[in-house]
Symmetry: C2
Subunit: 158 residues, 2 copies
């Protein structure tokens, strides 16, 4: 119906926009990026469909799309309140740490293709092959050592 928009301070709007731009660069589509950003900067951590829609001034359709994609991607979740049909959406901040890890593990995707390319390269182009080999070694090294780093962090912060 009318305005379910929540009020944000100038500071919050600026942070929302900056964060959304960063997230778009990371591959989020615009509406999704804004929803995620809103749920991080807003004083309330739980917002309804209408609050999200009106605060961001996007259409119902776009809001629905964005929320559902974020739910499937596990970036947000929702809670319900007994006696209400509305859902209260909130950021899965906890999951971001896993996302960062997943992102770093993505290195191995890349490394696998490089390894396949190396395997079929001709023997002349020796220098080139050696450079590629070093890169592969570097990424293999990271793939081994990063999990060690994660474990150390968990130990230190528990």
């Amino acid at each position: 119906m009318s305005e379910n928009s929540i009020k944000l301070r100038v500071e919050q709007i600026e942070l929302l926009e900056k964060l959304a731009v960063l997230l778009e660069k990371e591959g989020f589509q615009p509406a999704m990026a804004k929803v995620v950003a809103l749920l991080l900067v807003s004083d309330q951590t739980e917002l309804t469909f209408d609050q999200i829609q009106d605060t961001l001034s996007i259409s119902k359709g776009a809001t629905s799309q964005a929320i559902n994609q974020l739910l499937s991607a596990n970036k947000i979740e929702y809670k319900t309140k007994l006696g209400e049909r509305k859902r209260y959406f909130c950021s899965r901040v906890m999951s971001w740490q896993e996302d960062v890890k997943a992102d770093l593990n993505n290195i191995s995707n890349f490394n696998n293709i490089l390894k396949q390319i190396l395997q079929q390269r001709p023997d002349h182009t020796k220098n080139f092959n050696q450079s590629m080999e070093r890169l592969v070694q570097f990424m293999d090294y990271l793939n081994e050592e990063l999990p060690v780093l994660y474990r150390k962090f968990e130990e230190q912060h528990s």
Copy 2:
């Protein structure tokens, strides 16, 4: 003029396409991704403008754009041969290691905004704030420890 296209084995074409798709996911635009991939899978490591254009079947304009953007981004370089005007383009494989590092350092961009958001969050929403704080700590930890990891790698492989 006619066909300057170089011949690629089926295997090479498949790897080229797989790698190009991965690179597009990393933010490369299609033509750039294909040029980079070609320079990695091709038996010859140095290819001319026409060889690139004809092998990839893209227009002159697109080839020119892609090559120039890759040059500015330092992903490729070129060599010349005395007595020839043509440039011979090749991948800067060496630089990829730096690119991986830069990519990981990008974490700190993200972390900086999170810190700003945290600073202005209200004190109620304690759990939420604590989760954010932990994420920030995790990323700070990575930002400190990754350079240590790089150094260790250099030491072991030299």
